[in-house]
């Protein structure tokens, strides 16, 4: 499935190239210099073989190689995504576990309903509201993610807190919900009853028996949210004027800078594929039953 996704991405891009240029005779000369008037298959082949060798072509806008832009931007985006993930994974799981342990009590309702509400909101809406609260009214956090030159690790982190919060909110609901339903299922199971009847302390039952089983599906959800996170990055990086892969794609799309657009999107495709692979791997490591199943 991931392989197919990777194959379809450049196909879309090929069509994206053809679309706007198809009926513009005036730019034929330009097309020729850029090499985009060659047959699509030839272009595709030279582009993909160059990409594999690390040459992503030349940006139409900046008139310079694309690769450094993409690599810089990817690095920046990963910093932002990392901050969001480091915050959301433990807090999301904790939220879900607490909700499940207080099933149908007010605390569960607050976490579930709150999580659901913030998850369905577009990132730029939560982003704007958070900027207003923490950046404009309280003046606790900077409203732009562009930190000063030579900023140290903690300064960068300080600038990244506000941009990562909208991503945090979107992911929190998903992760908390999965953790909650996983917990409920595990709490309800025969092995939990056995453990309780065996006279194990409640704390041991939760840590050793319930949590281990409950968190497996959550891991898969976290990985599948990578694709979602990337879509969110495009919005968040634009809102906070952050030089990441999302804003690179956005700028390229507005300026019809196809080499940059293609390389950015293919890079995202690769990141997504790798994340999915890692998730599959983690899942099988953590869940012995999967490995048993594949032997039969």
């Amino acid at each position: 499935m991931v392989f197919l996704g990777g194959q379809v991405l450049p196909g879309n891009v090929g069509r994206a190239i053809l679309g706007p240029f198809a009926d513009q005779r005036a730019v034929d000369t330009l097309n020729h210099t850029l090499g985009v008037d060659r047959p699509l298959l030839t272009q595709y082949w030279s582009w993909i073989s160059n990409f594999v060798q690390g040459d992503m072509g030349t940006s139409y806008i900046f008139r310079s190689p694309v690769a450094p832009f993409v690599i810089d931007a990817l690095g920046n985006s990963m910093k932002l995504a990392a901050v969001a993930f480091v915050l959301v994974v433990p807090i999301g799981i904790l939220g879900g576990v607490v909700a499940a342990l207080n099933l149908n009590r007010p605390l569960d309702r607050i976490i579930s309903l709150g999580g659901l509400s913030v998850t369905v909101l577009p990132e730029f809406v939560t982003g704007i509201i958070l900027i207003l609260i923490f950046g404009v009214w309280l003046r606790w956090l900077p409203i732009s993610a562009a930190w000063p030159r030579d900023a140290g690790f903690f300064t960068q982190l300080y600038y990244l807190i506000l941009p990562s919060l909208p991503l945090f909110l979107v992911l929190f609901g998903y992760i908390a919900r999965m953790a909650r339903s996983g917990m409920i299922e595990a709490l309800d199971s025969d092995y939990t009853r056995t453990a309780v009847l065996k006279g194990l302390p409640w704390r041991t039952v939760i840590w050793r028996h319930v949590l281990r089983n409950a968190l497996l599906p959550t891991i898969t959800v976290i990985a599948t949210q990578t694709g979602y996170l990337i879509g969110g990055l495009v919005v968040i990086e634009t809102l906070f004027r952050y030089q990441g892969i999302g804003s690179l794609i956005f700028t390229a799309a507005r300026g019809k800078d196809f080499p940059t657009l293609e390389s950015g999107i293919l890079t995202i495709g690769i990141v997504y594929a790798v994340a999915t692979l890692v998730a599959d791997f983690l899942y099988s490591v953590l869940n012995p039953r999967i490995r048993l199943g594949s032997d039969q």
Binding site: M1, L9, L18, L116, S117, F124, V125, V136, A253, L261
Partner: protein, 292 residues
């Protein structure tokens, strides 16, 4: 979207006599649904009749009163060329409430047809179509939309088609799994024995029985469609000026919030938030009513 169960006190007493009435009554009993439905209804009313009760023309500028803070004259203040924010927020519901439901409708029709085909025929058709759909689902919607809109140009139609087609595979998957269960039932075998055509069996026999999951999926998708339309408008790839659309207004004004002009974006943001939450609460209610 089943995290929050509806507040129906004892789901055990929902016996299926007169299925439509049953669903209707359990919807009326669901506080989640009623609250969500009321919010959505409010915005639909604004979209339909907004210009009649908006105090100002949402497009009329008034440079002298530009960026005025909220006051008794302009409840939500004015934007950078003096347009009344309150009127713009009210009328701003119109475009998003046209584009998002149409996109959802397209997704539902296309997704249902694909789901019926793949679920009914299975085999090679299912394998080929399902793999293609999965490949599409692997790409984030925002990215697909960005590419398509760059290639096709910005217009409401493009936005509807792009969002509709990106959501179709998700609906197709839901319909397919419902059809897979239905096609094993006796009434399908009976139809086949009567030598009904495959089309008849799919659309006349099976389709009415898979309506509930389609309905749930459609209401959930409507929430996501509003999310997507608002986001695309904010990015400049969706609804175009001079529409007072909420996402578009935020994208025009958020550059100035550092200067403290919070009223130019806050009310639009809250409007989007309330509409999205309203649709999702209603969707959750529908889900609860049909699954209890």
């Amino acid at each position: 979207m089943s995290a929050v169960q509806t507040t129906s006190p004892n789901p055990g007493d929902m016996r299926r006599h007169g299925p439509l009435a049953e669903v209707f009554y359990s919807l009326l009993r669901s506080r989640t649904f009623l609250v969500g439905f009321a919010i959505v209804l409010f915005w639909v009313a604004c979209a339909l009749f907004g210009e009649h009760f908006a105090p100002y023309d949402p497009l009329a500028d008034d440079i002298i009163n530009a960026l005025a803070p909220p006051s008794s004259e302009h409840w939500f203040g004015t934007d950078q060329i003096g347009r009344d924010v309150f009127s713009r927020v009210i009328v701003g519901s119109r475009d998003i409430l046209t584009v998002a439901p149409l996109a959802t409708l397209l997704a539902t029709v296309a997704g249902t047809a694909l789901g019926l085909l793949t679920g009914y025929f299975r085999g090679l058709v299912d394998d080929v179509v399902s793999r293609i759909l999965e490949a599409f689902m692997a790409i984030p919607v925002v990215i697909v939309a960005l590419l398509a809109i760059v290639a096709l140009g910005t217009s409401k139609t493009t936005v509807i088609v792009v969002i509709g087609l990106s959501f179709a595979p998700i609906i197709a998957r839901t319909v397919r799994s419902a059809v897979l269960a239905e096609r094993e039932l006796d009434y399908v075998a009976a139809a086949q024995l009567r030598h009904e055509s495959a089309l008849h069996t799919m659309f006349v026999e099976i389709l009415p029985n898979v309506i509930p999951p389609i309905l749930v999926e459609t209401t959930v998708r409507l929430g996501y469609a509003i999310f997507a339309v608002a986001t695309l408008s904010f990015m400049g790839f969706g609804i175009q000026p001079p529409s007072p659309d909420w996402g578009l207004s935020i994208s025009n004004n958020y550059g100035m919030i550092g200067g403290g002009f919070w009223w130019t974006v806050l009310f639009d943001a809250l409007a989007i938030a309330s509409l999205v939450i309203g649709v999702n609460l209603a969707a959750d209610g529908v889900h609860g009513a049909l699954n209890d």
